[in-house]
Symmetry: C2
Subunit: 373 residues, 2 copies
């Protein structure tokens, strides 16, 4: 009789698998409290002589030491690069700080990169991993709600170009996503709200019941109730895993995850990166997109006030900056979903389902007039 195997985890995390290419490739999203102190969560990652942690000046003082401790058990050499914090540093110059460090330390093509931070750190680390020596493995360690429910999952990586948000990047999947819910305790309230924008997004496009759940549990989420957050992160990751598993490279379905993002990216690029948080722009963008869906007859009239109320309750802006309708339209024409100069919007088609729709410029201008300061 063999002794029973000791459970690897002190507290079992939720595990959401992502399957790609009909199960040929894939990875796990681990979701749980205390994972930064849980050795088992860090086992079985790609073997290498060295790991490089990429983080920023805000997150590093909070969590870097614990991550270093975890990785020291797996890698002979653990290096760190700290980038400046913020969307406006999501550019080639910051990316090159990662490459400089990798080459100065003669890091080989097995080196594993760890993204410790929010969406900006995750997007940049993933893109750097895809490019360095044409591809090294990387692991997402998201520390913001937005990164845990959305940006760390699914392999979209990018940097910004002065003329367009996320214009330069790669589809490149992480080896694992490790989402420690305890890291959300330190999140500024503004960033918690920004993350809730992406949580709310999943309702109208994929799951009407989840939208109702968010409406019922929004106060608990805003108060950082751990079990409410755990459910929200898990449900968002499940929906995203389902979508990405069917359409990794956004040939079709995956675009629905961009609900509110066409208007939102225009706000971010138009104001200058970092003025509004990405989630804030998406929140306001969802109000505009909801109005457009109503005006196109895709959704009943009550959908717009329902969305606006929820987004406002989440602490997000519902009135856009006054860039001028022409500037909005110009910025949206370089959106990645645009084709041949025609803007294409992700719009709900009944609750829990969405599709791509064109709209006349003058109708879009009316929407903007209704929701811009």
């Amino acid at each position: 009789m063999t002794a029973p195997k000791t459970p690897s985890f002190a507290v079992q995390p939720q595990i959401v698998p992502i399957a790609l290419d009909e199960g040929q490739r894939g990875y796990d999203i681990l979701i749980g409290a205390g994972l930064l102190d849980e050795a088992a969560a860090w086992e079985g990652l790609p073997k290498a002589a060295a790991a490089l942690i990429v983080s920023n000046e805000t997150v590093a003082p909070l969590y870097l030491a614990r991550l270093q401790l975890r990785l020291a058990a797996q890698y002979a050499r653990v290096e760190t690069v700290l980038l400046p914090d913020g969307e406006r540093y999501k550019d080639w110059a910051s990316l090159n700080l990662i490459f400089d460090h990798l080459l100065e330390t003669a890091s080989d093509r097995k080196t594993v990169l760890f993204a410790l931070g929010g969406g900006v750190i995750g997007d940049m680390t993933g893109f750097a991993a895809s490019v360095y020596m044409r591809g090294v493995p990387f692991v997402q360690v998201p520390t913001t709600l937005l990164a845990q429910v959305d940006s760390s999952v699914g392999g979209k990586t990018a940097i910004n170009h002065p003329l367009g948000k996320n214009m330069l990047g790669a589809f490149y999947q992480p080896a694992r996503v490790i989402a420690d819910l305890d890291t959300l305790d330190s999140l500024p309230q503004r960033e918690l709200s920004a993350g809730l924008a992406e949580v709310i997004k999943y309702g109208p496009i994929a799951d009407a019941a989840f939208l109702a759940w968010i409406e019922l549990n929004l106060d608990a989420l805003l108060a950082r109730d751990k079990s409410a957050l755990a459910y929200a992160v898990k449900r968002c990751c499940e929906i995203k895993a389902w979508v990405v598993g069917q359409d990794e490279r956004e040939q079709g379905l995956r675009a629905v995850l961009n609900f509110g993002h066409t208007f939102g990216h225009a706000i971010e690029t138009g104001l200058g990166y970092g003025e509004w948080l990405h989630g804030e722009a998406v929140g306001c963008g969802m109000v505009m997109a909801s109005d457009l869906a109503v005006r196109l007859g895709l959704m009943p009239g009550e959908f717009l006030p329902r969305m606006r109320t929820l987004i406002e309750r989440a602490g997000l802006p519902v009135v856009g900056p006054a860039l001028g309708a022409q500037r909005y339209l110009e910025l949206m024409r370089v959106d990645k979903k645009a084709e041949g100069g025609a803007i294409r919007f992700v719009l709900p088609e009944g609750l829990g389902k969405a599709g791509m729709h064109a709209a006349p410029d003058d109708l879009v201008a009316q929407v903007l007039a209704s929701h811009v300061a």
Copy 2:
């Protein structure tokens, strides 16, 4: 009775197919004289509203107008970006000229990029295509022997970093390769020789009979005999297609294509990009690697003079620049094939077969001492 179908091509080109993922993906290499004037070679490419030709100031005056004419039949808008000519411009600043143009013209994610030029243009255009909006299609139109026999085929794309050659890039396959042999007529003799280095490479690593054929036909190749060039380009592409079809992402076998490149990249990076042509550095690097193979007992003693003679006859340098053995070793330790600080060399193991080998630093230093000025 239906009329016989008119043959699409005035002169039938050679077609070498590349099959990837067990035939799930792939593309054709078209090799022939006059393809720039052959409408059929340009049909059936990805459809889009716009095409962007990327070329340089040297190649554009020779071939740009004819390519524009071909593409005007397929695309409503045909744009052009000219980059400065030379390996030292294979960097992010040049790459960004492509992105600036794409975004300034609001080019969408179906836009097709065409690389008109040699290896530098092909590597940069391919990398730009992989990154712009996370991937747009591209077509290789190689105009140098080096690009036709090697760099345009197989999907390796990259730019240089000051600390290492081709360190930043992607595996990203073109939609087609169109190699017009007539473009070799305008090639400076120095660049023809550089291309012959990559032709010679294929012999020792994959095809002993081809090595003997090159020895017999080198004078015809140097005199640009069209049928000799046609055979050499086709045979090189066949070998490369076979290798890449088995190992697209260089997990193993594909590394053999880097025979001579470990020493060669050290020469290029050590001297400063562009001092020596890539093919010149590879030629000299093959002499060094051949010597190392002999010293390690992998090849008989006569292999070294045989290779040195052939490389010298091709008009290539066989003596390396005096960077100092320590500098050579330091540069080679950041080579992409190195692991955990150990340099790994591609060396022949009998004629027509190669593998990866480590070597003691002092033995490498002896090799360098024998072949450095």
